[in-house]
């Protein structure tokens, strides 16, 4: 076994003997850089408000004492309206992700495989629209939303983000790259375009869906600029906006803010750790078009 592995392994006689500790030192230092803000957030959420800043000058920053987690999290939930914002963020992100998967992949499939009039024009339009950043549309969209009195609604927060030219194009190129034989076989067996799509193409396209879903989710969960403009009342504030409004309630209670931030990132971090491979592959997939 070992002999075979050694024979198959690339000849890196130098590489194996090469000292690995410099790499570990570098990786360790970077790990500290990326983790210590996370630690400060979690530990800060557990201790008394007045010591969060004061303890920063020593290692006491990492000691959750005096322990006041209960009142911090209670304040984030009550004064900070955490659960209202969680509900808003979950509804908005879910609709954007699921709706987006649905309409973008169907459109991508139609552009890649089905024949209809105007197809080439629509493909060109999708490619052109990729360039337009949402920010360039925000002001006229705000006017449109306020004309039809949609500000302060949840639909104003999700409807503009469901159809995304970038993901339509991603699905289009994915479907273009699939071998046609399976679909043709399904068609010969009498399956119409709908059955073919949902029972043959859809299962094959899981990686494309995973990639698009993860990127869409991270984007919609973190949305800030649009909610700043369109969400006024507390009932429609997504988490990022809820957090900044909570900060604006004087006097600033740092521990309560850290509690809010912890509750805000925790659901995503848990999902990320469970599916880290998919997350990383999903994001890596976005670079393929480079």
């Amino acid at each position: 076994m070992t002999a075979v592995a050694a024979a198959v392994a690339p000849p890196k006689s130098k590489g194996i003997k090469k000292r690995v500790w410099p790499s570990y030192v570098a990786m360790g230092l970077f790990a500290i850089f990326f983790l210590f803000p996370v630690a400060i957030m979690v530990i800060g959420s557990l201790k008394a408000d007045e010591v969060v800043i004061r303890d920063q000058t020593s290692l006491a920053a990492f000691n959750p004492s005096p322990f006041e987690a209960g009142s911090n999290y209670a304040s984030a939930a009550d004064t900070g309206n955490y659960f209202t914002s969680l509900r808003v963020s979950m509804i908005v992100s879910t609709v954007i992700v699921i709706g987006g998967m649905f309409v973008n992949s169907l459109f991508g499939y139609a552009l890649a495989r089905l024949k209809f009039k105007g197809q080439r024009f629509l493909l060109g339009l999708v490619v052109a629209l990729i360039i337009i950043p949402f920010e360039a549309l925000a002001v006229p969209l705000l006017l449109m939303m306020s004309e039809i009195q949609w500000t302060d609604t949840l639909r104003a927060q999700f409807l503009p983000f469901i159809a995304q030219p970038l993901y339509i194009y991603l699905f289009y190129s994915f479907f273009k790259g699939l071998p046609k034989e399976l679909e043709e076989a399904a068609m010969i067996d009498g399956a119409g375009p709908y059955r073919t799509f949902f029972s043959v193409v859809f299962p094959l396209a899981r990686p494309a869906y995973a990639s698009a879903a993860i990127l869409t989710f991270l984007y919609s969960w973190g949305q800030f600029l649009w909610p700043v403009m369109v969400a006024r009342s507390a009932e429609v504030r997504p988490l990022p906006l809820g957090l900044t409004f909570f900060r604006g309630v004087p006097p600033v209670q740092w521990a309560d803010l850290m509690a809010f931030a912890t509750m805000m990132v925790l659901p995503v971090v848990i999902v990320f750790i469970l599916f880290q491979r998919h997350f990383i592959e999903g994001v890596a997939g976005s670079g393929l078009k480079g």
Binding site: P11, A31, I131, L137, P240, L257, Q276, G287
Partner: protein
């Protein structure tokens, strides 16, 4: 050439010829599959985009009893002669000029580190990517604590500089942009790292073996094997970082004592856009900023297409 109907996106089949049932169902399916996304794109992208162009030539306000009228290029003249706007452009440029090379290089370094076949490299990969799952707003709030004059950042700096250097990062305009850059780096370098990591894994191992047989040094391997092997994704990372850096908003809205502050030190094009189009309710002028911003992104995209590395 193609029939005119093909360029107008006409949805009705004009005078259906006798077709096989299959082609016909593929045709109608094509329209049904396209319709939801095409409709949403029209309502929420095409129309607002056209609207932005039109509004930018009017004096339209968000809430105003006065009638809207055409003002020609007044909004553009207003914006382009406003020192606040040029200050924002300058801030965006400073941010980009620092962030694009530093973040791309750091992402590459991290990707190379975690690409080694070392025990625990998956753990480090996860750690470096972790901040991507935080939204920028949460990251900014956490860093408010760390960047406090007596925060952790200054505690560490004081150890290394023997107390000589501990600025008030967020209230001293000289240092605020540096703080914004630091937070942005922390919050988003993992994204570029992952893209470059995937690229590194696609470089054929044989090339490295051949190089080491030829006695190439580690640096020689990096220059002659790694860099050419990942040039497409590296170029993608650099250009996407550049385009994203011009959208800088969340951090400069949250970190300073007031958005874009102190004294406009972190004012960006996006802050100008929101302040004008939403804060002041000047939809016309805000639309002009939006159009100028679009032209900037368009320029960067054309630049990207033009200089994209060609296959050898």
């Amino acid at each position: 050439m193609t029939a005119p109907a093909a360029t107008t996106g006409d949805l009705e089949p004009s005078s259906p010829e006798p077709q096989s049932r299959e082609r016909e169902s593929r045709f109608s399916a094509g329209i049904i599959f396209s319709l939801p996304a095409a409709l949403l794109l029209t309502l929420f992208m095409v129309i607002p985009f056209g609207f932005a162009l039109v509004l930018s030539f009017t004096n339209r306000k968000l809430l105003s009893p006065l009638a809207t009228r055409w003002v020609g290029f007044d909004n553009y003249v207003d914006v382009l002669t406003d020192s606040g706007f040029w200050g924002a452009i300058k801030n965006n440029l400073v941010f980009s000029i620092v962030t694009v090379p530093v973040q791309s290089a750091l992402a590459l370094l991290l990707a190379i580190l975690v690409n080694q076949k070392l025990r625990g490299s998956v753990f480090f990969r996860v750690v470096y990517f972790l901040p991507i799952t935080f939204s920028l707003s949460a990251a900014s709030i956490i860093w408010l604590v760390l960047l406090n004059p007596s925060g952790m950042v200054n505690t560490v700096l004081e150890v290394f500089t023997f107390g000589a250097f501990s600025p008030d990062w967020l209230n001293n305009p000289t240092y605020t942009m540096a703080a914004v850059i630091l937070v942005s780096l922390w919050a988003s370098v993992g994204f570029q790292m992952v893209i470059l990591l995937a690229a590194l894994q696609d470089v054929p191992r044989v090339l490295y073996e051949a190089a080491s047989v030829d006695g190439a040094s580690a640096w020689g391997q990096f220059r002659n094997v790694t860099l050419p092997g990942i040039r497409h994704q590296l170029f993608f990372v650099i250009t996407i970082t550049m385009i994203l850096s011009f959208r800088l908003f969340d951090q400069v809205w949250i970190l300073p004592p007031r958005p874009g502050g102190p004294v406009d030190a972190t004012n960006t094009i996006m802050v100008e856009l929101v302040d004008t189009g939403f804060g002041a309710g000047q939809v016309g002028k805000g639309s002009a900023i939006a159009v100028l911003f679009f032209l900037l992104v368009l320029f960067l995209t054309i630049f990207q297409r033009r200089f994209e590395p060609k296959d050898l």
